[in-house]
Amino acid sequence: MSQVALTTRVGSGRRRRHASASGATWGSPATYLVATVLIAICIAPVLYIIIGGFRTNSQITVDPSGWPSPWVVTNYLSVLASPVFWQEFANSAISAVSTTIGAVALAMMVSYVIARYRFAGRNAMYALFAAGLMFPLTVAITPLYLLIKNMGLTNNLLGIILPQIAFALPTTVIILVPFLAAIPKELEEAAAIDGAGRISFFFRMVMPLSLPGVITTGILAFIGAWNGYMLPLFILNNAAQYTLPLGVQAFSSEHSVDTAAVLAFTSLSMIPALLFFSIFERRIVGGLSGAVKG
């Protein structure tokens, strides 16, 4: 997560080359050959998981790398009919949505202060969050578990949501501050003339204008929380609170002989993140490519 944020700055502040679609050419066949091989390598394992879910265990045993014949949907149907899957799906959704809303809301407020208020300690505040990138979850996880345990939040989704918000803050603040700083002062002056204080300016003008930044950081926080493994592993010991990553692992060790079911469970659990990514891919990849106005 933190890695993603850092890099959005790499290309910022520089000119972006404008490659219009109309100027695109077909290039040489060799280019396409290499590109095709690259893509095949990237998506083959993903396809293996999805397609494998359409096979039976006997098909997989006889020929592990074969194509489904015939295609069976029973694996997928039985996962979709299982309350365990939906429970874990709901837990993941609650965790990811709450983390996203919490991280973006808190980060918006503090970024607004850093970007638009003048006071002693403003740079220190920014440095505090920037330094947070140096404190990875791996280092903090043992004491964090003890802290959550002392707060009585183990086996409670709140016990993963709060740390997830905290660990998403540095990235989110660092991306949002330039967005908020870029809002022209004329707007604020005009709002002040109309009698709006800075708080009302925040809600009426800043929120809508910084929507692109909010969406980018929101997606990053959502995917990070949806995919999170280490934190739930430590905090959630009760199967009723498992999120999907823990669920996938539990399912694959319980049904280790039922490979087809494991593949179906795994592919269904990655669909939301993939769906989310494909809807907003332009923002994520575009943001990483320095399209975020810095």
Partner: protein, 340 residues
Amino acid sequence: MSESAPALVTRSSGSQAARDGALVAPSRADRPRRRKADWRQRLEIALLSGPAIIVFLTFVIFPVFMAAYYGFYKWKGFGVPTNFVGLQNYLTIFTDKNFLDALSHNGFIVVASLVMQGPAAIAFALLLNQNIRGRSLIRVLIFIPYVISEVIVGTGWGLMLQYQGAVNSMLTSMGLGAFKVDWIADPKIAIWTLMVIISWKYIGFAVILMLAGMQSIPDELYEAAAIDGASYWKIQRWITLPLLGPTIRVWAFLSIIGSMQLFDLVYIIWGQYVASTAGTSTMATYMVREGRLAGNYGYGNAVGVAIFVISLVIALTYQRFVLRRDTEGALTGEPGRKRR
């Protein structure tokens, strides 16, 4: 701590923008009823920044300091630690062969990631930097492995790489049955298997980054080179690569830090016990196994601190010797200086 490594990487543009923003904000002090406005501003600052700072300090900064404190005790995680052992935990860590093995695996992963992913990512980015059709689709597809969770990657690859799995079965059907090996359990092979999976998962990120770096190189340089009659390869060698330097250095930094913290993939595929026998254990899997799972929380915290310090030393060294020229502006706080 505030001058820690990644902060510097980002500060050049980030804090610069923040600084510009500050100039933009009208100064409340210029207005009448100054005192009232001043108090009002303080209240606003406190209300707006308070929640984020409290959450951040509680769940990110505080635990790290607690780790440093717990690390001096022999402690099972119940009640207040009383059995102060000084530096004993740290002595144990650095004389435990399992930890030193894990550390050397981390070192291997750092170097192998740079060597395997760097050149490949630059090559693929050069390929995609041409103005070809379907480029945006390709960009999305190579990014998919990065978006999928480690658990799914681990489960999927773990199944494919079983001895009776899809990879070996494909080798057999291609007439390469002689190359069938136990990809996961064979200690001679396992760490290379891990490297393949890591490269697969994270190369999309590197490619996107390099591509972003290439697209920020001004067109004029390419036009001038083309007018001078430079060949495609000469242009890449003498324009693209040198100007890609800052991007490469930042990517390498992120890759190194990520390799030092590696946990999820190893723990999911190899588990706590197999990882050390297969030679893929990392410092983080060692920490979880010896700390939490063994119930030795004092020791686990000490391992966490050791990982932090080792990573920090590497980060600061890298910062000092490699990233310095990219971040000089940020370090010296010279306004208006852009990173190149």
